[in-house]
Amino acid sequence: MTIATESRYVGKPMVRREDKRLLTGRGQYIADFTLPRMLHAAFVRSPVAHARIKSVDLSAARAAPGVVYALSGPELAKIVPPVSDSQLSLPAKWKSQIQHKFLNPQQPMLAHDKARHVGEAIAIVVAESRYAAEDAAELVAVDFEPLPAVVDAEAALKPDSAVVHEQYKTNTIGEFVLRKGDVDSAFARAKHKLRRRFHHHRYAAIPMETRGVVATYDERTDSMTIWSSTQVVHWVRKEAATMLGIPEARIRSVALDVGGGFGVKGHVYPEDLLIPFVARAIGQPVKWIEDRHEHLISACHSRDQIHEIEVAFDDQGHILGFRNDYVVDCGAWNPIGSGIAYNTAVHMLGPYKFQDFSVRARIAATNKVANAPYRGAGRPEAALVTERVMDLIAQELKLEPDEVRRRNMIRADEMPYAMGVPYRDGQPIVYDSGDFPSLLAKALSALGGMGAFRKRQREARAQGRYLGFGLGCYTEGTGVGPFESATVRVDPSGKIYVTSGACPHGQGMETIFAQIVADLWSVDPADVVVQLADTSAIAIGFGTMASRSTVTGSAAMHDASRRLQKKVLAIGANLLECAAGDVELRKGGVGIIGVPGKEISLAKIAHAARPGWDNGRPQGVEAGLEETNYWEPPTVTWSSAVHAAIVEVDIGTGKVTIDKYAIAHDCGTVVNPLLLDGQIVGGAAQGLGGALLEEFNYDAQGQLLTGSLMDYLLPTASDIPNFELIHQSSPTPLNPLGVKGVGEGGAISPPVVIANAVSDALREFGAEFNSTPIKPEQIVRAVRAGAARR
């Protein structure tokens, strides 16, 4: 029996099978989906950041034209008691290694005791049209008793602060310490030390499609169907089952075409549960489509960390010791618990040898929108710290920034390299593969090298122009567990059917999984049927986030296929009247090794595998051709990259123009280079948005000042440069295909690359950019301050 993997499609830049429907307006997003008798929901959201809810008057709303139903938070709390605060689900292996404390407040479906941020939902109104529902929602009167707003994350941690979750008597809802070696003695022996404060500001995913849910309840079978714009259909089903009190088997959760997610749709929101609840209560299908303003004030924000660091280093720029005390402003709720804060802690180590360090993280509750993962999930914050530190050491020692990095970098011949701390799955971090110095060399060479740049910089300066060079290196744990599922089936037609818990939202998974499965089965990708994001297709699944679907999904498909193929070959051999060891998969069927032609098609084998009379199975082979695998990765695989840019800063207007931007990247085996480039460029553009434009600003009362796309600036085609991509491939030994994740990577480095480049350009003004975003007004201010000092 021979099961070879021939790479006929993996590695090819295949165009996407998803495109045609999306290009012709025939995709189906949640807003496009309708059901007979469907009603429309609108939410009443808090206009204040922090207040006790004294009463909610729905009488005018209930009497408004077209209104069918209305429900307030206090009313709902009487029908469905709020879920009590729970323990965070963290791997036991992690908990036993890391000193930590987490409080886990549970957000109710509607606020009933207090409003904890502007935008928190307090009541729902359901009407015959969205227009009518929104009109009626405006008639809802809420009596608030205002409380002092907790807006500043550091002030929130002080004993005299107002408290967001009063049961805890503190706003510190999470804390942990991560240590390695002996940082105190490292500092004691170091000749050089520096301290800095870094702030990575608050911004968010902002997919072009907002959130949305449609739910319908079938009384006859006591079952619920939920369609939503989500990255996690199985998680939605689980939470809905708990809330509705019906078995998971009676709930179907589906995601249609999803118009972007980037993490913000990666967990279950109160609205995802309330819409099914209301649909059952009314007995009619209910639809809710979030509008853009609602999205900005209620869908999760991200980033928002303040770091106070101290670094010790020697004359050569080697890092000897590193201390960091940081605060994550998590807003009013913390849906992903330790995820972001701990990602930051371990990714701060980057591609470098850190021997002695000590990190303390605190998670602060404030009266802002909840903080949840957005592309990078704690890693852009880590990169801002580490990569600014590298540049600051270089400046202190009058070395070039690439040289300091090179001196601290882990070399290729040191792989695999144990970092001495656990990942959030509890496994020890071991960089499984990669060549960081080579990535650095490639990125530098794409920009012409450091020496050539310095010459160009001097020449430009002589003409009164300010050029700067910025580097940003990172490593990224991708494809995290606990698992992903796949079911592979040989259809009666002979096509290979595959499904998985992965939930695509623009990545092109239908195309990628077809390529992978086509190679596994020696068939054409057109003969692979891919179905995703539907709990009725596969009982257990995890979902798409954390750069994991190609990594974990492909491995599950591989293992399920290999098991199923043994059966296919046994049946094929039976039909060919030879031994199972003498046959192989080829040309969409099974043939005798060394005897070309006469393949038995997979359709014939599927027919022979059926249960019942006159089947073609050999003795001992069970009926049916379907296998399911749950891939439980041993731990994450480590992707890596170096971003490098040359910028020009106009010191008069503060405008930053990106002259060149190169990305040298390593994500192991490449499944589809066309789509890979798309992921990297898309992520990098989002990173540049965060670096230069996007910003959630709150005033002292906790009012969001950037609550529309006129104020929250997303990058457009004229803001983003062409990126030059350089690929390096170090396949991981940790999964069958050698793939590492790539979804998030692009977004990690741009903020610090810009911070480094602008700081480099304005070095003569003594300007340091240690916080983001880097806006024209800050640049002009820094230039003026520097000029005044001279």
Partner: protein, 164 residues
């Protein structure tokens, strides 16, 4: 009922070459009329305040945002939406270029992107990359980083010139 329902107005317009007649409230947005009353859900509402451009259509041949227009304003107008671009199974050259250059990921902005680009290429049939980037800054894409959209438009331009 505390107040009477809003009176309805007639809207007659041509969409993708086909005449349509409908009735709606005077306040109904054109994008909602296209999507809900005519079932043409290819036009997407991404921000409903005229910034993102996902709802861009051709209004009497010119790109316009259908989320900041009322349906009644389109009375008598000739509208083209993304559904009107392909000829049967044959994609419009711009759609084909988007496909070949991987100029879409989630696809939500794509209809607006296509309609805005068609108007732009009509006005400027042989643009430079800089001109494409400037013109296409009217539609926001969150997935692609624009690089492949720019490539696709530059690749489609000569084909559209040839077929014009």
């Amino acid at each position: 009922m505390t107040e009477p329902k809003m009176s309805l107005v007639d809207v007659r317009l041509t969409v993708n070459g086909k005449p349509y007649a409908g009735q709606c409230e005077p306040r109904k947005l054109l994008v909602d009329f296209l999507r809900e009353d005519l079932g043409l859900t290819g036009t997407h509402a991404g921000c409903e305040h005229g910034i993102c451009g996902a709802c861009t259509i051709l209004f009497n041949g010119e790109a316009a945002r259908s989320c900041i227009m009322l349906a009644v304003q389109a009375n008598g107008a000739e509208i083209t939406t993304v559904e009107g671009l392909a000829k049967g199974a044959e994609l419009h050259p711009l759609q084909q270029a988007f496909h070949e250059h991987h100029a879409l990921q989630c696809g939500f902005c794509t209809p607006g992107m296509l309609m805005a680009a068609i108007d732009f290429l009509k006005v400027n049939p042989a643009p430079t990359e800089h001109e494409v980037r400037e013109a296409m800054s009217s539609v926001i894409c969150r997935c692609t980083g624009y690089q492949n959209i720019v490539k696709a438009i530059l690749a489609a331009a000569p084909k559209m010139r040839a077929s014009a």
